[in-house]
Amino acid sequence: MKLTLRIWRQAGPAEPGSMVAYEVPDANPDMSFLELLDVLNERLTLEGGDPVTFDHDCREGICGSCGVVINGQAHGPRALTTTCQLHVRSFSDGDVIDIEPWRSVAFGVLKDLMVDRSGLDRIIQAGGYISAPTGSAPEAHSTPVPKPIADSAFDNATCIGCGACVAACPNGSAMLFTSAKVAHLNSLPQGAPERASRVLNLVEAMDAEGFGGCTNTGECTNACPKGIPMDSIATLNREYLRASLGRK
């Protein structure tokens, strides 16, 4: 397959950037999208050029490292699929593909397609955990958790923190990310003692990073490779109101 990749090239955080077109004449349909970039980078390196910088790690869709905006869609055209799990066969021979970094004022571009997502880490540090050392996994029967709650907590725990929600949101909002932590931890008995402080601290940290607010457009959940639902945002709002009104 012959593909034309138009890639955002930017030398450094303060440098100006632009879209640069590259031809990949020998793309294999079975390549992953990151392997497509690898092939391009090998050629650029051999030609003495500057390879395209992009984040990646596990390439199994579970680490949350990779993620670029492909043709205006975070993680590309396939639903519930990270960039590393997207394959070249999702495109057609002769396609021109636009590849851009996550865009948000809270995610500065470091180089090319790599952005600084440490804002999400700081949100986690503010409350995305349970303080009590609980040791290894407890005996499941000792603390019964109703099945629907366990399922919902697990679904929210599958958030890999890739930042696609922020990238897709027209307001650069991290509400879906933050809501996944709240919907995960606040619904479980282990998270109950810090239920109020957790949500207040998480939202304060989220706002402090400069992320925008939620206007309920649903772009985040549409882009999320793990399918975190809009319902999590309603849960975050509910928990925030509850904590703000001082209800225990």
Partner: protein
Amino acid sequence: MNFWRSTIGKKTVMAVTGLLMLLFLIVHMLGNLKIFFGRTDFDHYAHWLRTIGNPVLHESWYLWIQRFVLVVAVVLHAVSAYQLSRRDLKARPTKYSHHQRAKAGYATHIMRYGGITLALFIVYHILDFTTLTLNRHGVDGAAYDNVVSSFSVWWVTVIYIAAMICLGLHIQHGFWSAAQTLGYNRPSRDRAFKGMATGLAVLLTAGFLIVPVSVLAGLVD
């Protein structure tokens, strides 16, 4: 005042004030329909509005209390919207060079412009029927004739039609969004809230527009 400073706090203020205004609009729309019972009934209803709460409240006091509450609601709604919009636009300064295909519909897309349009319309509407400054008939107490005189002019009716379509779109996203913001929404209730939002939007738009359209069509004169 951490609550007011937070993005969720401001959204909550928008949701609560929005629902308050929605409640007023439902009553307002139903009251308007009294015009179809004729001049005497409608003028009597308009006068009754000034006597609500009598004799505890003096003439028009209830009306002024309601006006005060509504102005506070509009101001809080608009200030929150302005501050949140500024923040949102700042949070996403760079657009993607490849246009994003939006999942959200037109109603969501148009919220900000629709809101500004509605604010301008409210000023026009008050000048038309409350202060009677722009009203062609403009006789205090003659509500029926004032209504007929305004809506007999085709372009006034066109302004009202455009504004009520904006209102419908605003409510269609706003009502569901409020359910989401206030945390009332659940997966099991999502369809119901969306349905109610569309229902309220259609009901209010149609309910408000039937009066000017009927006047222009000569059904009410």
